[in-house]
C-alpha cells in the first residue's frame, strides 16, 4: 500500500536522486523541498511512520496524503510535510494544512518591560483577564495566529504587569502551549516511542518506564549480529527496541502467546524491509513440543492435528502474522487474474462460470501458498531455537515471569545475559529463588531504577514537582554451562541465601 518503492518513485519523478556507495552501505541521496541534497533517510516521505510532537506530547502516525490526523484536539493533514526534513516544525493553518515554520525563534514579544517585585498585590478574583472565552474564539476565527492571541491575552490582563518577571515568563509559556498550534515531525526511535507510550498509554506496555527499558537493552547486551529471544506483551515496543539495537543484523525470535504476536508499536518504528527478514516468531503453545522434539512442522499445514481450537488460533495467527510481503503477493495474484481473463476468448456465460471456478482455484492456491509459507516460517523459527544457542533473552510481559523464564532459558547458550521485566516485585522474587534452586545462572540481580527530572533555570533550579512513583522491576543474570556440574567440591558458587539471619531473628 505504502511501500517504499512507490514513495521513492514520486521522489524520482520530480527530483534528483543518486546512489552513492559509502564505505559500508548504500546511501540514497535525494533533494528535499528546500533544494538541499541529503541522505533520503532525513526526508519525510509519503507512507513514512513518523511521530508528531507538541511540547512533551507525542503521537505516532503514518504519513498518508489527504488523511485527517487528530492530535491534541486539533485536526490537520500531513500532505505538506512530505519532502521536508525530519525535525521540521510546522504551524497548523486554517483548513488544517501544515505550514513549515521558517523563522526560527520568533520569541516572546519584547513589549514585556514592566514587572512586579512579588505577588503581594495579586488577588485571584478571576477578573484579571478582560477577554472572555467568546472573545478568544472570535479572535481564533479571525485567523489570528497563536502568538498573536497570546499577545492579546497579555495586553488584556490587568495583573500581568504586576507579576514578577519569572511569573510573566511562566504565564506566557502556559498560554503559548495552549494557543500555539505548532507541531514538530520526528523520526521514530526507541526513545520517542517509549516516552510516548509511557505518557499516553502505559497500560499497553505493562507500565514499563523508558529508563527501565533502557536498562533492559543494556543489561541484555543487545547488539547487532546476535540471536535474541523476545517475549513481551508491550504492544511490540520492547521488540521494536531490540530490533533497533540490532540494526537488521542477526536474528530476533519473538515468542508469542495466543493467536499471534502484537506489533502495533513495532510498526510505528517504520523499520526498513530488511529488518523484518531478521524477525521470526514462534508460538508459546508449541514450546513444549519443540523441547520434547515432537514438533513436526510438516503436520502444521494439515491443520487437523491440533484439533479445532488450535486450528482456529493458527488461522488467526496466520492472518495477523501475514507480513506486508504476503499482502503484496495477494495483490499481485488479484491483479494478474483479470488480465488473464481479457486475453481468453470464451462465451460470456461460460466465462462467468470459469471465472468463479478460477477464483475458487486461486483462493485455494493462495491458501495453500499461505499455509506453506507459514509452515516454512514456523520451521525456520524452530530451527533457530533448536540450536539452544540464543545470545540473549528479553522478557517483559503480563504473564507470571517464573514459568516463562525457566522455560525460555533452555534455549539460551551459556555465558549469555538474560533480563526479565515485571511490573510487580513479588513474582521476580519467586523467579530469583527458583533460579537459585535450579542453578544454571549466576550474577542474579533484582533491581529497580529511580528517575527524577530537574527544572534548570537561572536561580530557579530544583527537582520537577511530580515524579514517577515506580517504573517496574528487573531481574537479570548470566547463564552458565552446568552440564558437568557433578564434579567439584564447592557447594554453590554464591553464598546461600542468608538463612542464618533468619535463625538470628528467631532466637
Amino acid at each position: 500500500l505504502f511501500n517504499r518503492e512507490a514513495s521513492s518513485n514520486t521522489c524520482d519523478g520530480s527530483r534528483l536522486t543518486k546512489r552513492v556507495l559509502s564505505s559500508q552501505y548504500f546511501s540514497v541521496f535525494a533533494m528535499a523541498n528546500n533544494g538541499e541534497l541529503v541522505d533520503e533517510r532525513f526526508i519525510i516521505k509519503d507512507g513514512d511512520f513518523v511521530v508528531l510532537q507538541r511540547g512533551d506530547v507525542y503521537k505516532a502516525v503514518q504519513i498518508q496524503k489527504k488523511r485527517k490526523v487528530i492530535f491534541e484536539k486539533q485536526w490537520f493533514f500531513l500532505d505538506n510535510a512530505v519532502g521536508e526534513l525530519y525535525g521540521s516544525t510546522f504551524e497548523v493553518a486554517s483548513g488544517g494544512s501544515l505550514q513549515p515554520r521558517k523563522s526560527k525563534h520568533p520569541e516572546i514579544p519584547a513589549e514585556v518591560k514592566e514587572s512586579g517585585m512579588d505577588n503581594r498585590n495579586i488577588v485571584d478574583d478571576g477578573r484579571s483577564q478582560k477577554l472572555t472565552r467568546d472573545d478568544i474564539e472570535t479572535l481564533k476565527e479571525q485567523g489570528l495566529k497563536g502568538q498573536e492571541i497570546v499577545q492579546q491575552l497579555v495586553e488584556n490582563s490587568t495583573t500581568f504587569r504586576d507579576k514578577t518577571e519569572f511569573a510573566q515568563e511562566k504565564y506566557i509559556k502556559k498560554k503559548k502551549k495552549k494557543y500555539e498550534n505548532i507541531i514538530t515531525i520526528l523520526k521514530p526511535s526507541t526513545r520517542i516511542l517509549a516516552l510516548m507510550y509511557h505518557g499516553r498509554e502505559p497500560g499497553k506496555i505493562c507500565h514499563l518506564r523508558y529508563d527501565t527499558l533502557a536498562q533492559m537493552l543494556t543489561l541484555g547486551n543487545i547488539h547487532a549480529g546476535s540471536k535474541v529471544i523476545v517475549f513481551e506483551t508491550c504492544a511490540g515496543l520492547v521488540l521494536g527496541a531490540v530490533m533497533e539495537r540490532m540494526g537488521g543484523y542477526g536474528s530476533v525470535i519473538q515468542m508469542y502467546p495466543g493467536g499471534g504476536p502484537t506489533r502495533a508499536a513495532t510498526d510505528s518504528f517504520g523499520f526498513p524491509e530488511h529488518f523484518h527478514r531478521t524477525l521470526h516468531e514462534f508460538p508459546l503453545c508449541k514450546v513444549k513440543a519443540l523441547l520434547a522434539g515432537t514438533l513436526s512442522p510438516d503436520e502444521e499445514g494439515k491443520d487437523s492435528v491440533d484439533g479445532p481450537a488450535a486450528e482456529h488460533l493458527d488461522t488467526t495467527a496466520g492472518q495477523l502474522a501475514s507480513s506486508a510481503n504476503e499482502q503484496r503477493k495477494e495483490r499481485d495474484a488479484e491483479d494478474s487474474s483479470p488480465e488473464g481473463m481479457e486475453s481468453s476468448s470464451v462465451e460470456p456465460e461460460d466465462r462467468d462460470k470459469e471465472e468463479r471456478e478460477r477464483r475458487k482455484e486461486n483462493k485455494a492456491q493462495e491458501k495453500k501458498v499461505k499455509m506453506e509459507e507459514k509452515r516454512k516460517k514456523l520451521s525456520a523459527a524452530a530451527a533457530l531455537l533448536q540450536g539452544r544457542n540464543a545470545d540473549g533473552l528479553v522478557v517483559a510481559s503480563r504473564f507470571h515471569p517464573c514459568p516463562v523464564l525457566l522455560t525460555l532459558l533452555r534455549f539460551v547458550a551459556p555465558s549469555r545475559p538474560f533480563v526479565v521485566y515485571c511490573q510487580y516485585r513479588e513474582p521476580l522474587i519467586e523467579c530469583y529463588s527458583k533460579l537459585r534452586e535450579q542453578g544454571g545462572v549466576i550474577n542474579l540481580r533484582l533491581s529497580e531504577t529511580w528517575l527524577r527530572h530537574y527544572q534548570v533555570l537561572p536561580n530557579r533550579t530544583h527537582p520537577v514537582l511530580l515524579m514517577s512513583g515506580g517504573g517496574g522491576y528487573i531481574l537479570s543474570g548470566t547463564t552458565i554451562d552446568d552440564s558437568a556440574s557433578a564434579s567439584g567440591p564447592q557447594k554453590a558458587e554464591e553464598p546461600a541465601p542468608k538463612r542464618i539471619k533468619l535463625q538470628e531473628t528467631v532466637a
Binding site: 526534513l85 525535525g87 526507541t190 547458550a413 545475559p417 533484582l446 528517575l451
Partner: protein
C-alpha cells in the same frame, strides 16, 4: 571473542572474565602456556581455557572451581582498571537510549577516561558506526587505544589526545550524537554542535554538580539546542532473602469464655507457629545516592 561479537569457544588472545562467585570477578588475557593464580588454585590457560565453551566451569588446581565468562561491556565496566571515575551500567543505559544510539551511529565522546562508556557505545554502534573519543590525558588516551585493540574494536574507534574545549573533536558535521563528561562541558558545546550532522542529532552531558548543569544548560540554549532536559537515575538493588517474623504471644484466651467441660483444651496456649517466614526483597543499607546529572538536548534543524 570480541566486545561486539559473541563466540562460542575460548580462544588464544581472548579477554575472558573469571567469575569466582558473588560479585568476585577479574578479567584475564588468554595465552597458551600462561597460568593464572586464583584463591581456588591455578588456572592453566592451555588446558583449562583454550577450546572450551564460554560459560564453562573450570576446576582449579586446589579443587575449587570458577566460571569463565564471555566479556560484555557490562562485565568490563565491573572489572576494568580504574584510571578515572567511571560511568556504570545504569547511567550508560540511559545515555545510550536517550542519545538514540544504534548500529551505524557516529558518536563523539570526551573524555575517554577509563573507557567504560566507550565500550558500551562501541557495542551498540557496531558494525557500521564509529566512535571519535577525545581524551586530554596522554597516558589515558594511549591505554584506551591499547584496550580497544585487545578487545578487537579498534576498527570502530578513533582516539584523539587533545583538549576538547580548545580543539574540539577533530571532525565536523558527522556525528549523530555527542557525549560530554568533562569538568566544564559548557566550553565544549560549540565544538559539539559543529561536530554534529547538519540535520541534527542528540547531545548528552554528564556532570556531578548542579552548578555545572546550570552553565551547560545556558550554553546549550544559547547555541540553539532544543528539548533540553536534565534528569538523574539511581539504581536500587534488592537482596532477596527469607526473613522470619516472630508472632507475639498475647497470653491465653479469656478464661471466662473457655468451655468449663473441657478445661485442658484452651489451657496454657502453646502456639504451633511461633514465627512466619516470608521471602522478601531488602533494599541495601546504603546505596549510591548520586552519580551525576544527565543533561540531554537535541540539535534542531538549522
Amino acid at each position: 571473542m570480541s566486545f561486539v561479537e559473541y563466540s562460542e569457544l575460548i580462544q588464544e588472545g581472548d579477554v575472558a572474565i573469571i567469575f569466582l562467585g558473588h560479585d568476585s570477578m577479574f578479567p584475564l588475557m588468554v595465552q597458551s602456556g600462561a597460568q593464572t593464580q586464583t584463591r581456588y588454585g591455578v588456572i592453566r590457560h592451555s588446558t583449562d581455557l583454550i577450546g572450551r565453551r564460554y560459560g564453562s566451569k573450570v576446576t582449579c588446581s586446589k579443587g575449587g572451581w570458577v566460571y569463565v565468562l564471555h566479556p560484555t561491556p557490562e562485565l568490563w565496566t565491573l572489572n576494568l582498571p580504574h584510571r578515572t571515575q567511571i560511568l556504570y551500567a545504569t547511567d550508560i543505559a540511559n545515555i545510550t537510549m536517550m542519545l538514540e544510539l544504534k548500529p551505524g551511529s557516529v558518536v563523539c565522546e570526551s573524555g575517554t577516561g577509563s573507557g567504560s562508556l566507550s565500550h558500551a557505545m562501541l557495542r551498540t554502534i557496531a558494525p557500521t558506526g564509529h566512535l571519535y573519543t577525545v581524551e586530554f590525558h596522554q597516558q589515558r588516551a594511549e591505554k584506551a587505544t591499547e584496550e580497544f585493540r585487545e578487545h578487537k574494536v579498534d576498527h570502530l574507534v578513533t582516539v584523539l589526545n587533545q583538549d576538547v574545549c580548545k580543539d574540539g573533536f577533530g571532525v565536523t558535521g558527522v556525528a549523530d550524537a555527542v557525549f560530554l563528561d568533562i569538568p566544564s562541558p559548557w566550553e565544549a558545546v560549540g565544538h559539539a554542535k559543529s561536530a554534529m550532522k547538519r540535520q541534527g542529532g542528540r547531545l548528552c552531558s554528564f556532570s556531578p554538580c548542579i552548578e555545572q548543569v546550570q552553565r551547560t544548560c545556558a550554553a546549550l540554549a544559547e547555541h540553539g539546542f532544543g528539548e533540553i532536559c536534565t534528569l538523574e537515575v539511581l539504581l536500587r538493588l534488592y537482596d532477596v532473602r527469607a526473613v522470619s517474623l516472630p508472632l507475639p504471644d498475647f497470653g491465653p484466651d479469656d478464661p471466662s469464655r473457655t468451655d468449663p467441660g473441657v478445661p485442658d483444651r484452651a489451657g496454657p496456649s502453646v502456639p504451633t507457629n511461633t514465627a512466619v517466614t516470608c521471602r522478601t526483597a531488602i533494599a541495601p543499607r546504603e546505596m549510591a545516592g548520586h552519580t551525576g546529572y544527565l543533561t540531554f538536548a537535541s540539535k534542531s534543524l538549522v
